[in-house]
């Protein structure tokens, strides 16, 4: 028996690698937020950029105490969307067109000193939730996670998911019963030939090659803004791209006829960004915003916001359904 075979056998017999979710009912989460008097969406706190483990101890203690109380609370007032999910990012309007915004980003990408070689790695920090869609009584579970994929040309690799620290997103709170930051959530290991990426190689750093790839992964004939954004997500979920490749991806976004500029903002880690958005043609209840650094021109993240209430997700309109951030190595390594 080879080492790999033995490791695989042991892995298959190890029940401890996938922990059970620890859900907090939405009603309880909602009521706790109301009791602790979280500010309304328009009165957001100043960003706490570059600070990790940002949940104040007093608030955490309040939540812990109040959790014991909320079970008996009835007839809570209807919650606002922002009481359930992170506050939407606040955008400062800009007069630039999509083309101008992306041209500026591409100018920054063209400057020396950026990323010059692609890497089979995707490190992301995201806020997500989980819903059991066919059980109205099932709790929706909020998760904040690091996802670190490393893979090799021989299709071996590993995906490590760990519980992540708080970001500076107002309302970016997960249940107190969630694993503490740094806790291993899951670990998937692939032996040679086992990992199946969408793209074995990165497309050439040309707009046409990127557009072809986006058509492949999204199934779109005519690429709209949301297709380009989803395509960028899929690419960044497998690869760390060079600046030239990201520039080519942005060309595809720029060419989308329905792309709009939401404005400038700071992302969940306090990084200055400009957002370009689109609405998926088949799923018009979502709006996807691509966050582009106004410092480096690189793609920083994606925000998914509900335009309408979604009963499957048990979330009201204007909720942030998820966000995902890239170029976060420095945060993962504790350097920021």
């Amino acid at each position: 028996m080879s080492d790999d075979a033995l490791a695989d056998a042991l892995r298959r017999l190890d029940p401890a690698r996938t922990p059970v979710d620890a859900p907090l009912p939405l009603d309880a989460e909602r009521r706790v937020r109301e009791i602790v008097g979280r500010p309304a969406a328009g009165a957001r706190r100043a960003p706490r950029a570059r600070r990790r483990f940002a949940v104040p101890g007093v608030v955490a203690a309040c939540v812990a105490v109040l959790l014991a109380v909320v079970v008996g609370v009835v007839a809570a007032p209807a919650p606002s969307a922002s009481a359930l999910t992170p506050d939407p990012l606040a955008y400062r309007p800009v007069s630039d067109s999509v083309a101008e915004v992306i041209d500026e980003a591409q100018d920054r990408l063209a400057e020396a000193g950026g990323v010059n070689s692609s890497e089979r790695r995707s490190l992301s920090l995201g806020w997500y939730f989980s819903a059991t869609a066919d059980d109205a009584d099932a709790a929706t579970v909020f998760r904040r996670e690091w996802v670190d994929l490393r893979w090799n040309a021989d299709l071996s690799g590993q995906i490590v998911t760990t519980a992540a620290e708080a970001t500076n997103a107002a309302g970016d709170t997960v249940p107190s019963t969630d694993p503490t930051p740094g806790t291993l959530i899951s670990e998937l290991t692939f032996r040679r030939g086992q990992y199946s990426p969408i793209s074995f190689e990165t497309p050439e750093a040309t707009p046409d090659a990127m557009a072809d790839w986006i058509r492949l992964v999204t199934g779109a004939d005519e690429i709209e803004a949301a297709d380009a954004i989803v395509g960028a997500r899929r690419m960044l979920e497998e690869w760390t791209l060079t600046d030239a490749q990201e520039s080519a991806l942005l060309d595809v976004v720029e060419a989308a006829p329905d792309a709009t500029v939401l404005g400038e903002t700071t992302d969940r880690l306090g990084r200055p960004a400009v957002a370009v958005a689109g609405v998926p043609s088949g799923i018009a209840s979502h709006e996807l915003a691509l966050l582009i650094s106004t410092e480096t021109g690189r793609i920083l993240g994606l925000e998914d916001t509900l335009r309408d209430a979604d009963p499957a997700l048990k979330l009201p309109a204007d909720s942030v359904a998820e966000y995902i951030l890239w170029d976060v190595d420095a945060w993962k390594n504790g350097m920021r």
């Binding site: 059991t132 066919d134 995906i159 899951s186 199946s196 999204t218 088949g282 499957a312 997700l313």
Partner: protein, 137 residues
Amino acid sequence: MTDDTTPSNLHPDVAYALREVPGGFAIDSHHAEWPELGMVLEVPEHDKRGEHDRAVGSCATGAICAFSGSNLSGTRLSWSSCGTYSTSGLSSVGSIANARSAGYLQARTSSGSVVATAIAGSWSNTSGAVTNVRCVS
């Protein structure tokens, strides 16, 4: 009284490990020990039915799941029973998982085209405009 260490009573995973790793012996149907290696194996309790269903990533045992991200990442929709379900709660579907013990799960477009399939106990990344998943038991 039956002896649950006889080969026919061993859990398949225990039997496999004993066959492949020399020096071990069965403690009972779900436990084995290799004294010289200092190694003990314990098959999870939920597998005592003899079934091989287990969680797939964060997709719980017995469920089917769709994820907004590739590689079982991102927002997760799950269903506890087999059927055909809309994934409109997700802005896009990047991967699917099938944590049931039998059957398969398809990711499909609005026209019914299958773009990815996950057999029992497995997962798959998707491509294309997935609008629904179909579980076949």
